[in-house]
Amino acid sequence: MRSTTQPIAKSAHSKPRRVVVAVLDLLSNLKFGIWLLVALFVYSSIGSAGIVYPEHWAIFSADSWVHDQVRQWRGLEMTEFEWFHWWPFTTMLLLIALSIVVTTLRRIPFTPVHYGVWMIHGGILLLIAGSFVYFGQKVEGDTPVARRKVVAEFAVPQTDGSVTNQRVEFVASPGQRAEIGEGSSRVNFEVRSVDPQWELLTGADKGKRAYSVTVLVERAGKRYLRQLLAGYPALTEDLLITDDQAQPIKRAVEELGKPISDESMVLSLEYTAQRWFYLRNDLAKSWALYVRLKGTTKWTQRPIDGLPLYNDCVAQRDDVFQLESDESLPLHPLDVRVGAFAADDPLRGVDLRVSGYLRFAVAQTRVTDGGANAALNPIASVTVSSTQTKPETYRLVAHDAVASKADGGVLRLVDLDHEAAFERFTRQPSIVVRIPSQNIEVREEIRDVAAANPNAPFVEIMGAPPNASATGYAYRVVNVQDSIPIAGGTVAVAILEVKTPQGFFRRWVFENPTLTRDVVTPDARDAHGAPKLEDDSIDIRFEPGNGLALVVLAHGPELGRLRLISAVGATPAIHEVAINTAIPIGAGVSVKVAEFFPRGRFETKPLVVPRLQRSRDAMETFAQIRVEAAGAGDAQWIPFTRWVFDSAQEALRRAPFEPHTLRLSDGREVEVLFSRQRLPLGSDVALDEFVLTSHVGGYTGEDSTIRDYRSRLRFRGDGTEAAWSEPVDVSVNSPVEHEGLWYFQAQWDPPETRPREGEVASAGLNYTVLGVGNREGVHLQLLGCCVAVTGMLYAFYLKPIVKRRRQAGVLAELAAAAKRAGLEGRADEGGAT
């Protein structure tokens, strides 16, 4: 299309006017417009794909490609969203919009032939306008909503005769614990299991399924389980824990004739109300610190501006650990002030400072040499290899009752004050039995304990040589505890089952005989009462020896001297230990001490995960920042947490609650969390039910068997007095709107049948994660798009028809005119651009 504007006589206009005209000329220059589109193409390609090229001809495998995201480079540090909201991009868009406006107005006549172009250009302008509205106001985040919380209410009689009411809440999630009260009035709760699909066996709703939560209650020395069913408070019942091996758990209703064994303890299930949503960090970075004074519950957020997302920033290499094989971390100091933001910040005037950022790190504890002045604290790192299994490495701490042993007590590290103590560890633990009445004294090494081998035989006590017949006394060792921590030290104990002609009892035989006592009543688990012997016809002593350890590493008495005592063979073998030298101990097993520090010191720092080992899907999950309180020396690495909970009782599975404490220069202690900024939802949201639907054959643990996830939500106005709304369902592809925000099904709580160490199994479905966001301006965007489509259809397919009609009209007129003029009309085939 050629320019339709007339050339402008330069002399006719003033200078400012000439500039305006020159700008207008530029904006309506087609070449300029094309270059803008090309620039947009290049800009988006760089932002989206970065630098990418194949290194190998096999282009269909990822490892043939070199890929580098330019926008993530240090200095740029942009998410996709940020790259496409950066000023060069918005400037380009505005220029394109202006160019379209000026060109259309100046150069495209508003005639039927050009309606299409007008519509396309108008539509795109509407789209750009709608997008400025949309992206200018966009908020998007996510929020977890737990399904139920357990509320425990009970009365505690006070010493003065009055009664106080106690209340404690905790989320219904397997393994969740809560405790309240001190001393004898202390009550412990633990969610033992949750069954989201419990089948009702009684009542009008028999056959239906309900959400069932079983809580272990420990109160005044009693323990019982209470089962709660969401929506069926009347079906609450207690399960009693008995010593009956055949049926360790019995229903209270069958044992006691009533479903509740402890009526003064009221447990109920309630909705949990979520009030916040957390802004997505991969749109615009939304880092925030949450602070509160230690002892308070309310968090105050402080947005962190200027924190990177993709690149590590560390001021000194000493601040972190790195793998030896990893390339040394480049030093990039960071100094981001995080001041009070909210008016109700409890620490107004106290600035925190972020001085380090790690994209991908895990806390690691290493042992270092504490130096000559440090306290004696022998720590060894020991590797056990065998021909059958993979080598295992253990860390042993001599002065720690638990950490001094490994592999179930088979391996232990001890610290000797004097050489005489050494001898003890060359001996097996033994039991010495005396029956004074029959003048019998027998010493027997302990070889088998019932805790490890339930079929361990009883050791019969035979009579003294002249009449070597059975005495009717027998014992077996249930377990050996070498170092139980008690006030003021540790004690060794052997727990025995003893048969006598008179009966059967358990005896706790301490190394110190004055502590030894018998346990007759089976449910008295407590062995801390006054020592008491039920049967003094038999006297038993315990010599702990090596405490059943197969391998004892003994340090001392000389500093740094380490000896290994192996009880694998028939006689104990003793070796002097050299670092990093494997010592064969028989049966194909060898032990190697890789590290040994007599004055060891623990040091915990983030271990920087090497670049190549960072999973892209992990997002910000493994980020850590180094936070310092201004003016004070206290600095700590704080790991990222997805959501902010007020207490551990609110925390969800896979989202633990671990606030770090920072000491200010004035001595105050501040709890700090590192998370994302949050916004109020404007109303409370509760999860009534979470339903997983599956394909044929049911959910097997494979994602491919899942058909849909559905969260049944309830809303209520801000404030706990209002009533919950009727339930609404949110499922994949089917969001709901509530007061300007849209709620989407985003994530779920999958079952964990094989939990990690220290966790309990979970049937899942205890919470949902909802996406939350607004969508201002989408309708304007959509309108623009539709107008543009109409324009395209018009320009490509209607315009030629309009032209043909016009042509036909002209030709018909010409023919008529020619006829009138008596001339031969000649229809020419002609086209127009």
């Binding site: 299309m1 087609l30 094309i34 589109l37 947009l40 193409f41 988006s44 390609s45 932002g47 989206s48 794909a49 970065g50 990418v52 190998h56 282009i59 269909f60 495998s61 990822a62 490892d63 043939s64 490609w65 996709e80 969203f81 496409f84 966009k138 190549l612 960072r614 999973s615 892209r616 394909h695 044929v696 054959g697 049911g698 994602d703 491919s704 068997t705 899942i706 058909r707 499922s731 994949v732 592809n733 969001p735 989407f744 996406g771 939350v772 966001g773 969508r775 989408v778 965007q781 959509l782 798009c785 489509v789 395209m792 259809l793 490509f796 028809i801 043909r804 036909a808 085939e829 127009a832």
Partner: protein, 571 residues
């Protein structure tokens, strides 16, 4: 004479090609054949197995599992179901055989180098050469220390090579006879509960008192166990007759447990047929024939080749249509939810569009060009589907929950339709470039694309018509017709995607790489439209930009999918 003989020739050769494609040749002397060829597993091939939330026919399931082990390669030219069972019954035989497929060529080199260093013999050099070419390696080699060290090194690189190690590990896991046995969930539930799992074969053979299979009647359990034992014994003895009769008995037994809940036999048979015939992707050969004939037809203006080409093209499209419909029938949903389906269905759309355009342009000089572009596109697409079965996995599986939406069928189909049109436009664009390189004149279609068809002269002849139209003009016109269509469809498809994303992900536009490159493709075409207004050599610019547009589209399909994954990674 020659001409006439030839004109009948295509039919004969075509019939032969089709026969060779989809028929199995019967062999006379049975006893001389190896066990693998003598044993008849057809009855077993069409029993149902429950896997990944679907009821599949056993042969398609076996081919899926064997693809995890050996990728696109067939082991010893055996049927996958045979290999599955043989691997289960003779695991040792597969330990030393080269059966594990390593997809990535760079990784093959690393592994082969490690083995060559460990064993510099000529024999090893030979085997490694074959490994680098075929990608197949034995479990024996993979468990050598030198290889384990390399694998560990590769596993550390999560960004690039860890996936290769993962694939090798899954191959080893699947190859394990315990795994193969545990996945044979072929015993229907006796109580007909569809939301509960079917039973594995172990529940009837190992423990008769196994409570989990109690819903199956005792006689049925015993009969299944007996048939299975016979199958195993026959297999171990190499007795093909015994195996065949056991297979028949087992299949009949399994069908009788829950006749109402059991999948339709006809569907299972078609599924078996579809998988046994490479998902009908060999149709690419017919498209190749059509492309050659049409090219001869349009380049040398040879009317008979043109007619023959159009007929062969129609035939290829008919086969292609059967393949698409069959897959629809087997999967129970329109095939557009994974890479294999997107590529093959897109090609089908292109061919259908070409058929319509051929009709519209039947009297113009543009005729046959649309069919040619579509035939080339479909040939490329079906070749990719046929040869790159690891990248374009042909298995029929359940869709992730997010794909269950009506917009999947609208958005995806519109987008892939526009993509195939872009590819077709690049074919005519490339032809234009060849034409120009060979000295063709700098001509172009004066009224753009559809305009040149619509703006016919009063006499009814389209503008670009007959012998008078220059080749360049026609090619440019074809490119423009396709470009205009893809321009509208791509834009519409992107909007439809935005509408879907708005209620699915919570944002109509997320600057996801796939979205950005769809927009980039559109930008190339927007530049093209405007450049045409400005430059003199419109034909050349159009051809170049249509090829650039197709490259950006392919970049989106290949690089964004395999290297820069984003939210759209499942398609």
């Amino acid at each position: 004479m020659m001409r006439r003989a030839w004109s009948r020739g295509p039919w004969k050769s075509l019939a032969f090609v089709l026969f060779a494609l989809f028929a199995r040749v019967a062999v006379a002397d049975e006893s001389a054949l190896p066990f693998a060829k003598r044993v008849d597993l057809t009855p077993l091939a069409t029993i149902a197995v429950q896997a990944d939330g679907r009821l599949k026919c056993l042969s398609s399931f076996a081919s899926e599992m064997m693809r995890v082990v050996s990728g696109p390669r067939a082991i010893a030219d055996q049927d996958p179901l045979f290999t599955y069972l043989d691997m289960l019954f003779h695991p040792k035989a597969y330990r030393e055989a080269d059966v594990i497929f390593v997809k990535s060529a760079p990784s093959r080199v690393r592994l082969a180098d490690a083995l060559r260093r460990a064993d510099p013999s000529a024999e090893m050099a030979l085997r490694m050469e074959s490994f680098e070419a075929s990608g197949l390696i034995s479990e024996e080699f993979l468990s050598q220390e030198a290889v384990l060290a390399v694998l560990e090194e590769m596993q550390v690189d999560l960004v690039r090579s860890a996936k290769v190690v993962d694939a090798i590990e899954s191959a080893l896991r699947v190859k394990d006879p315990r795994f193969l046995l545990s996945r044979l969930r072929i015993i229907p539930r006796g109580d007909g509960a569809m939301q509960r799992p079917w039973h594995g074969i172990t529940t009837v053979i190992i423990a008769e008192e196994q409570a989990s299979a109690l819903d199956v009647p005792v006689q049925a359990r015993e009969a299944v166990a007996a048939a299975w034992k016979q199958l195993v014994n026959g297999w171990l003895e190499g007795d093909a007759t015994m195996v065949s009769s056991a297979a028949t008995a087992l299949a009949a037994e399994l069908r009788s447990i829950d006749p109402n809940g059991y999948p339709d036999l006809r569907r299972l048979q078609w599924e078996h047929w579809y998988f046994a015939n490479d998902h009908m992707t060999k149709t690419w050969i017919v498209y190749l024939a059509a492309s050659i004939l049409l090219l001869l037809g349009v380049v040398w203006k040879w009317p008979r080749a043109r007619t023959a080409g159009t007929i062969v093209f129609a035939l290829a499209l008919a086969l292609h249509t059967i393949a698409v419909l069959l897959r629809w029938y087997i999967a129970g949903r329109w095939p557009n939810s994974n890479m294999f389906e997107a590529v093959t269905t897109a090609a089908w759309f292109g061919c259908v569009a070409a058929l319509v355009l051929e009709y519209v342009s039947r009297r113009s000089a543009m005729r046959s060009f649309f069919a040619l572009g579509a035939a080339v596109s479909a040939m490329v697409a079906l070749m990719a589907a046929h040869f790159l079965t690891v990248q374009l996995n042909p298995d029929i599986n359940n869709m992730t929950p997010v794909l269950h939406d009506v917009w999947l069928y609208i958005h995806t189909n519109v987008i892939i339709f526009s993509y195939v049109l872009i590819f077709m436009a690049s074919v005519s664009g490339a032809l234009y470039l060849v034409h120009r390189a060979l000295g063709g004149a700098a001509s172009y279609a004066r009224v753009g694309g559809a305009g040149s068809l619509i703006l016919a002269s009063p006499k009814g002849t389209p503008l670009e018509a007959g012998a008078r139209a220059a080749t360049g003009e026609v090619l440019d016109g074809v490119t423009m017709v396709l470009m205009e269509l893809s321009f509208v469809l791509l834009w519409t498809g992107i909007i439809m995607g935005a509408i879907w994303a708005d209620h699915s992900w919570g944002r109509p536009w997320g600057w996801d790489p796939k979205e950005v490159f769809a927009l980039n493709t559109f930008l190339v075409f927007a530049v093209l439209v405007h450049v045409r207004l400005r430059v003199k050599d419109k034909g050349l610019w159009t051809a170049v930009l249509s090829v650039v547009g197709a490259l950006v589209m392919l970049f989106n399909w290949i690089v964004i999918n395999f290297v820069i994954t984003g939210l759209h990674s499942y398609a």
